[in-house]
């Protein structure tokens, strides 16, 4: 049951400087992992590999279901999503941003409306529905990035610093949302944070990026 991620001896160097070295780890379905580590230690790099945005120099990232390795294709990619630290908001309305993933999956417009409105309610952006998304504040932008991913009901959600540069109130709102998703029990969450207290609050498993490897935090 559920998607399992097997990271095996992943290595990556940029310009001869090793960032990840023989990094191995198994992510079990349904758990929330909180990853910490100093700036430049390779956390975001690992997340990009996990989300299959890039491939490592050596080693592998495999997705398994019922002990079988799944082929890497669009179908698999659409089962998880990554929210980047700068989410890459599209120059259109808030609604259209959240609807994007559903539209490209060919979901019917009535269903899109309903699902988007529910999520906008969850992240507290209903009143901004028809507003230009690029006009949102940075806290709202972070919530929009989250909403855009959540609306897809992904089995795995990768969050790269979901509360970086966010005020305490917005941080609370975002943590609430993550906790709610966690309580649903359907989603594996892997989030990067620089806040040890947040890692404690949200994570079932604490991880540390140390010398290019994932170690228990």
């Amino acid at each position: 049951m559920g998607l399992r991620i097997e990271v095996t001896k992943v290595a990556k160097a940029y310009n001869g400087n090793p960032v990840l070295r023989d990094c191995s780890y198994n992510f079990a379905p349904g758990l929330t992992y909180a990853l910490q580590g100093p700036n430049g230690s390779g956390k975001s790099t690992l997340l990009r590999f996990l989300a299959l945005l890039e491939a490592p120099d050596t080693g592998s990232v495999d997705y398994l279901e019922n002990s079988t390795v799944l082929p890497i294709n669009l179908e698999l990619r659409r089962r998880f999503t990554l929210v980047l630290p700068r989410p890459g908001i599209f120059n259109t309305t808030v609604f259209n941003n959240v609807a994007y993933g559903l539209k490209i999956r060919g979901v019917k417009s009535g269903e899109i409306e309903a699902r988007v409105d529910t999520i906008l309610e969850t992240v507290g952006l209903s009143h901004k529905r028809s507003q230009r998304a690029l006009d949102l504040s940075s806290g709202e932008t972070k919530r929009l990035g989250l909403a855009r991913a959540m609306v897809l009901a992904p089995e795995i959600l990768f969050l790269d610093e979901p509360t970086a540069n966010i005020d305490p109130l917005n941080t609370d709102i975002i943590e609430e949302i993550i906790l709610k998703m966690k309580a649903g029990g359907q989603t594996t969450i892997l989030l990067i944070t620089h806040d040890p207290a947040q890692a404690e609050r949200l994570g079932d498993r604490l991880l540390l990026m140390k010398e290019g490897k994932l170690v228990p935090g």
């Binding site: 990619r77 980047l84 908001i89 599209f90 855009r148």
Partner: protein, 234 residues
């Protein structure tokens, strides 16, 4: 206002509107053709990697500044009776003028659309990938993100087509009632010392340019305002 000017210069209104209409047709058709060719070219150059890509971009930028008279001369040599395309009998026809306008506007529209697309923040494409977009959907999303820059490129292309004299004069021949457009009339009338018609046409040209720019700006604004594109975002 128009009556006043017509009285002033005793212009035949039929002739005047004929000239205006042909001008619009020639630059409009030229721009349309140029845009139809330029946008796929710009998208290809911006989104696909292939050998010789940078060379094509450099050529486009060079041709943005192509002096219209030089193009006119080249087209003349190609289209004249003795030229390789002489059998088509296109010299001194509106078609030849449209061809000239297309060639002049194409590099401008393509180069500006290209830079609009390459300047889209790379994180937009990454976001599209993380949200499950296919390669085609990613490309579409990035192009859509560049739409204001693309419209500006089309505007600049219209500006060039509208103001163009050298090439259409050479390949069109400024034949009254057939290939005479606003810029060539102005050149001719000024040459004859008949400034009134030149001034009237000049003002019409200016007004047209203003109108088209206003229309396009409105379009841009509407795209930017909230809600207007709810249904257009696919």
């Amino acid at each position: 206002m128009t009556e006043f000017f017509l009285f002033l210069s005793q212009i035949n209104p039929g002739e005047l509107w004929g000239i205006v209409w042909l001008s619009l047709w020639v630059s409009g058709a030229g721009l349309l053709l140029a845009t139809a060719l330029a946008l796929p070219l710009a998208a290809l150059l911006a989104l696909k990697r292939f050998p010789g890509r940078d060379a094509v971009v450099n050529i486009l930028h060079t041709f943005m500044g192509l002096p219209p008279v030089v193009l006119g001369l080249l087209l003349y040599l190609l289209l004249s009776r003795a030229g390789p395309l002489g059998v088509l009998g296109l010299l001194y026809t509106p078609t030849a003028m449209i061809l000239a306008q297309t060639i002049l506007a194409l590099p401008i529209v393509a180069a500006l659309a290209h830079s609009a697309i390459v300047n889209v923040d790379p994180v937009v494409r990454q976001a599209a990938v993380t949200l499950g977009a296919t390669a085609r959907q990613q490309a579409f999303t990035v192009i859509r993100e560049a739409r204001y820059g693309i419209v500006s490129g089309i505007m600049a292309g219209f500006g060039r087509a509208n103001a163009e004299l050298g090439a259409v004069l050479i390949v069109g021949g400024n034949i009254a009632g057939y290939t005479r457009v606003m810029t060539t009339s102005i050149a001719l009338e000024t040459d004859k010392g008949n400034f009134e018609l030149g001034i009237v046409l000049g003002l019409i040209l200016l007004a047209l340019s203003l109108l088209v720019n206003l229309a396009l700006r409105r379009l841009q604004k509407r795209g930017q305002s909230a809600g207007a594109e709810l249904s257009s975002w696919a």
